[in-house]
Amino acid sequence: MRSSYRNKVLDVDLTNGTAKGEPLAGGLIEMYLGGRGFNVRRFFEEVPLDVDPLGPENALYIGIGPLEGTSFPGSCRVNFTARSPQTGLLGDSNAGGFFGPELKYAGFDQVVLRGRASKPVYLFIHDGVCELRDASSLRGKDIPDTQKAIIKELGDSRVQVAAVGPAAESGVKFAGIFCNLVRAAARTGMGTVLASKNVKAIAVRGTIPVEVALPQVFDDLVAEIKKEILVHPQYKGRVYLGTTALMSSLNQLGCLCTRHYQTGRFEAIHQVSGERLADTLKIKGKACFSCIIPCSRYVRIEEDGKTILASEGPEFEGLAAFTSKVGNPNLKEGLIAVDMCNRMGMDVITTSEAIAFLMELYERGDISSSDVDGLDLSFGNMQAVYALIEKIARREGIGDLLGDGAIEAAEKLGVGEDLVMHVKGLEIFKADPRGLKGYALGLAVASRGGDHLRSEPSFEFSEDAETAKRLYGTEDAAFRLKYKGKGKVVKDFEERCAIADCLNACKNTLVNMEILSYDRMSTLLHAATGIKMDPEDIRLIGERLVNLERMYLVLHGVTRANDTLPKRFTEEPLPEGSGPSAGSVVELEPMLDEYYEARGWDKDSGIPKDSTLKRLGISGLVDGALRRPSNRSQFEEDLVLGR
């Protein structure tokens, strides 16, 4: 039967240099759908809880979704999953661009990398074949040079490359895997894991077309969805600014991370806003594979007739990271810092947190320039920011301290542990959670640590009281500064995000623009795969995945006590000058109660109830994980959970 699944997993043993193809396990599709679901399911079962994240036993799972490679807009992402060297918990990160569809055209739904290669290699996966190729000449190369060298060697400009940069090679714990140069699976250190396997890059090229089960039904439905996107109220704004629109809008709301979350409004916003970027430096729009919303941008900076930067990006996170967050009013300088991180292959969120956190310590007088290699870390000093990025990527001087992440740096410096803005070891985004109560809850409970993309409860911006009442039982759910109903909103949106990650489709369209209801998803998946799933069954896949990921954390000792936020957000009100958000803190506890109840988790412990696990059909899986033998590694002993 024609299906948009390949029903094929590529299982690579790097230690022995062998690979095999095998079909997807029975029932996997119906219970986990694809991408993040496939990855987490296998990871949970196959990888010991106490595995050393950078040891050969930690497997890296690379998954894509059933709509990948079809004309469904934005179904282009790829998930990378392993135990995180950064948090010690679930590592999972995804990237857009063109890598995912190319993997589908090469004939696979998932790739598993096990062991460690004896010498530097890169993988070349093409039309059902996998080669390990020598990468010794690529060592130390940055992301663009790596991609160029591989494409040149393989002699095909259509090869898609996912690579790690110098940061991953020098063991920076928050290094990402970069597809298409700047499309980063940046979070939780998946690049560090790939580099630990002695793998510099994964190159894919495929020519096997995707055949859907019901071609005309599928194509008609996609045409209908595209039409709706083109008249969607968010369409024009997204084409103009993409996520960089958040600079101005969050600033307006008074919750744009400014000078390391010290206030919610940046006085130089007009110099660094998304509008400014689009109007002055954007050359043209850029889109991911198969997407009709070119929300990304190609930018060029020229000085004295010389091009000093030409690159795609940045998104909101990168832009805010090196402008408002470090107090820098110079757009061009901010872009250069983002570009440096991209070249070195580091997560901009964690990198900027490590830097901005030091800047705050410096401002408070807790550290002096002698502690930081003689740098002047005043907010806004971009020369110091550049120096720190270089030092982190090479792990030189103070950069060696920061390369393990801001939390470990704070420990070693002996100051400012409360000032690292993270949850469960993962640093948070550039909106101030005090002004966004639903997002605050989402960060506190997210299954990979302080992450906004696990829930993205954008409904709380809607001010649509009627829908709020209907869906979540209270009008408050539609207002960002209110608390009631947020537990239910976050639960709902966590499941939508989980499904988006299983489809490996874009959350901008699926979750924020809400173009694909569960009903429609059921029809679309049937047309693509020939498999009938009820809308409720699809939602259950999301709920199951959230619970399975939660159980992974629980088995590592996570409880309600860890579902928290940095003190600044729960105790210090946003200062005057933060507009309509001024005076806000986050009162997490009532939201947590509501969330656990909606989830079917024990309120005191935050642990899923047995009945919940049974209902979702994962209690056997959890029991299995508990029964596996355990050898506590050195890493485990070094890891202090619940920081």
Binding site: Q147, P209, K284, G285, A310, E312
Partner: protein, 238 residues
């Protein structure tokens, strides 16, 4: 009865030092050239236009008449590139626009507008093969992310098609309705000579059948153009 004409500067592609600007025009009324007050017309462009003007004034529409296909003249200065459009004055029932609906078209791509999404490739492969496979598409986007290049490559619908001339067995034929070069799979010997002859690198081969894939304009109304939301693809009359 002769048709009166208006000749308008449609576009300045190069550099005109006169300068002629888009929108500048003059009129041809009977045998007189009428330049609006304060206006001017470039002598070199005018001498290029001259032979055409009386032809355009005829009020006839014959089959196979080449005149209706030619309503644009570019100035002879290679650096100038000033495009003049000849149109009937007052929208009279002239031969100028009478056949435009049936005119053969070509797809023109603008790399500076292309966002690189490759929707055109998916649209083409689905329309022609019923599958989603960029390598089954007759249009493709050449990309180089290191310099931000997104360049759609597609058949230019050449007047003198080198692919046709190069084909040793005569497997390439022009569709009389659309003007597109089409492949006769029964005759083609898959020698790839056509692809080597194409100056634009626009011919690729079907990975399954080995036959050349050449844009057939979807029968005259190309689907990729309709699906290109960035408007990097455009249909223009030949």
């Amino acid at each position: 009865m002769m048709v009166d004409l208006k000749v308008v500067v449609e576009e300045v592609k190069g550099f005109c030092d006169l300068p002629m600007k888009p929108g500048d025009y003059f009129e041809v009324r009977g045998s007189a050239i009428v330049i609006p007050e304060g206006g001017k017309v470039c002598l070199w462009a005018l001498q290029s236009l001259m032979p055409l003007l009386p032809l355009k004034q005829r009020n006839i529409a014959e089959d196979n008449d080449w005149v209706p296909h030619t309503d644009k003249i570019v100035c002879p200065d290679p650096k100038g590139g000033v495009v003049y459009r000849i149109e009937p004055l007052g929208g009279s029932n002239s031969n100028l626009k009478s056949k435009s609906q049936n005119l053969p078209v070509r797809i023109v791509a603008d790399p500076s507008k292309c966002v690189g999404c490759r929707v055109c490739e998916l649209t083409c492969s689905f329309a022609h093969e019923g599958v989603y496979g960029p390598d089954m598409s007759r249009i493709r986007v050449e990309k180089d992310e290191t310099i931000g290049k997104d360049e759609p490559i597609v058949c230019h619908q050449c007047g003198t098609a080198r692919c046709m001339l190069a084909c040793p067995v005569g497997a390439l034929k022009r569709n009389p309705a659309t003007g597109a070069v089409e492949v006769d799979g029964d005759i083609c010997i898959k020698c790839k000579t056509c692809a080597r002859a194409c100056p634009f690198g626009a011919i690729r081969f079907n990975p399954k059948s080995g036959l050349p894939m050449i844009c057939d304009l979807c029968g005259g109304d190309p689907k990729c153009v309709k699906e290109c939301t960035a408007k990097a693809l455009e249909v223009r009359e030949r």
